[in-house]
Amino acid sequence: MQAKTDCVLEVNNLHVSFFTDRGKLRVVQNVAFNICAGETVALVGESGCGKSVTALAIMGLIEEPGIITGGQIRLKGQELVGLPLAKYQQIRGHRIGMIFQEPMTSLNPVFKIGTQIGEVLVHHSKMTEREARPEVLRLLKKVGISSPHRRIDQYPHELSGGMKQRVMIAIALACQPDILIADEPTTALDVTIQAQILRLLKQLQDDMGMAILLITHNLGVVAHFANRVVVMYAGEIAEHTDVRTLFHKPQHPYTQALLKALPIPGHERLVPIQGTVPMPLEYPSGCRFCTRCPAVMKCCPQKSPSLQKIEPCHYVACWLYQMKNAP
């Protein structure tokens, strides 16, 4: 991993479980990665893999019946797990910004967008509403909203989906956070709008030098936007490497299978992954991918492989590589 001094966010051995009346669901197991200033790390996986839960854990938004059962999350050295609510509220919106998937429902429909952006400034930077207004106008301009003087007094329903997402970005960036968590920020948007929003995020990142944690299931977005990629499957990390290596030399059978299943030019017949993602209650013992893995071996269902470094900046959790590095 990168030098510790550079790290904005460091996640170590994170475990999140949900205690329901059907049993204990180990939704996130042993997740570890870090993000440095100015870089984008993508958390990729299919539905149910635990990527959104990881993001919520970083924000401290895991609620009953879920609980962080282990691990550390450090924001620029400060430990977040177990932090009291009041302290967490100072951090959210201020040092960690978050944007969500559904711009249609993420904004409060009864408040003007100027008020909603200003709210963050008023709360964290202790400005009054009047003092915050020029700052809000500057932010609207920065996120590329035309005629900000007119828009600042409009309500969310008067804006299109793309513009609402820009407002969300403005809210998230208002206090110049160290890290921006983007949970499927463009999934609900049209392709051309998605391209605009991604370009905007890249510009803002270059300007402000902040780190971005991008959560998505769209590998096309990952290919063009992320520096490093963490692939999750059924709550665990399968592979973690930089973006080029992931697409050109993937090592984990799941990553390889996922790439073969993509409908891109050159794939005459798609190669699907047999079976379906297991539900948290039916996670197999040992490696969670073993029931669907084309390269499954006898040892796979017995014990879960740990994340092993096979190259500088390339980590894989698979028994195929553990054998070579046997102690």
């Binding site: 299919e46 539905s47 299109s160 989906g161 793309g162 513009m163 049209d190 392709v191 051309t192 709008i193 998605q194 391209a195 605009q196 991604l198 370009r199 299931h217 769209n218 590998l219 096309g220 977005v221 990952v222 290919a223 063009h224 973006v243 080029r244 697409f247 050109h248 299978a257 996922l258 790439l259 299943a261 993509l262 409908p263 891109i264 030019p265 794939h267 017949r269 798609l270 190669v271 699907p272 992954i273 379906t276 993602v277």
Partner: protein, 332 residues
């Protein structure tokens, strides 16, 4: 095309669907949402026509109007030579056996209170095609064909995952042996690995039963994989129809070019061009006059603002490319 051109399975001409917007105390009609505004295309038996576009372009409405699930405002639809719009309700219900639809949302497309067997077999029973033991056998065979165990017939939809529910929806559509299926964003709500399974299933079924598909999607990658020809829609109009490879390699309409440029391909070595589209997709309530795209088009000319672009054809036969754009009109 072969030597003697066979008539297309489905032929649509000048199709329009306008939704009225009522306002005022007595709900008078004040304006119209021109969801589908004069589109024309053909689909041959056994081929897949992809229909792409962004939100508000009218592709979902077009799919439903094609099956007369919504009544069109104007235009003609000929299915196997018969005019669908002139049929009475009884004949229409019989014809429905030949054209079916698969939906996007696997969670709302199955009746939560019916067993899987009933969902798949109901149409067979109602149309009098099979009853009793033969019905059960057919249901079993259909479930098997889409990759589900026939023993699932007594289970309820909520016990299945998204991909499996989509398979049930496909079994239901296949039950009546249709010739044409509208796939309305059929794989958009599925994960990549499940998407691949369903795409393969649809392709296999097409080969086995000689099905024609209208594949509606906003995902260009999926469409270029499954479709033979692709139609691009923008705010209620079709702007380009071309064979899939041609559309992706040499698109002629500026909107198609922008769409393809904006499409993220999962390969970090391929660089994106910088030609991104500005502004938002206009709403179909008050579409721009003239060419719908002129407000966002980098190549807009004076006449684009007032005159709707006519059709220009390039190429012949299977490689025919149709564009509606002033840039390409022969008089230019």
């Amino acid at each position: 095309m072969k030597n003697a051109p066979t008539p297309p399975l489905l032929s649509v001409r000048n199709l329009k669907k306008y939704f009225p917007i009522s306002s005022g105390f007595f709900s008078q009609v004040s304006s119209w949402v021109k969801a589908v505004d004069d589109i024309s295309f053909d689909i041959d038996a056994g081929e897949t026509l992809g229909l792409v576009g962004e939100s508000g372009c009218g592709k979902t409405t077009a799919g439903r109007v094609l099956l007369r699930l919504l009544e069109p405002t104007d235009g003609t639809i000929h299915f196997e030579g018969n005019n669908l719009l002139k049929m009475g309700s009884a004949e229409l219900r019989r014809r429905r056996c030949q054209m079916q639809i698969i939906f996007q949302d696997p969670y709302s497309s199955l009746n939560p209170r019916m067993t899987v067997g009933n969902i798949v077999g109901e149409a067979l029973k109602v149309h009098g095609i099979a009853t009793g033991i033969e019905l059960e056998q057919r249901i079993g065979k259909l479930l098997d064909r889409v990759g589900l165990s026939p023993s699932y017939r007594s289970r309820y939809p909520h016990e299945f995952s998204g991909g499996q529910r989509q398979r049930i929806g496909i079994a239901r559509a296949l039950a009546l042996h249709p010739k044409f299926i509208v796939c309305d964003e059929a794989v958009s709500a599925l994960d990549v690995s499940i998407q691949a399974q369903i795409i393969n299933l649809l392709c296999d079924l097409q080969t086995e039963f000689n099905l024609a598909y209208l594949f509606i999607s906003h995902d260009l990658n999926v469409v270029q994989h499954i479709a033979k020809r692709v139609a691009v829609m923008y705010v209620g109009k079709i702007v380009e129809i071309a064979p899939a490879k041609t559309l992706f390699n040499s698109p002629k309409h500026p909107y198609t070019q922008a769409l393809i440029a904006a499409n993220p391909i999962p390969n970090p070595s391929i660089k994106h061009e910088a030609k991104l589209l500005e502004g938002d997709v206009p709403s179909p309530v008050n579409p721009p006059a003239g060419c719908r795209f002129h407000s966002r088009c980098a190549n807009a000319m004076e006449k684009c603002k007032n005159l709707e672009p006519p059709l220009t054809e390039f190429g012949k036969g299977e490689a025919k490319q149709l564009v509606w754009c002033h840039l390409h009109t022969s008089s230019n």
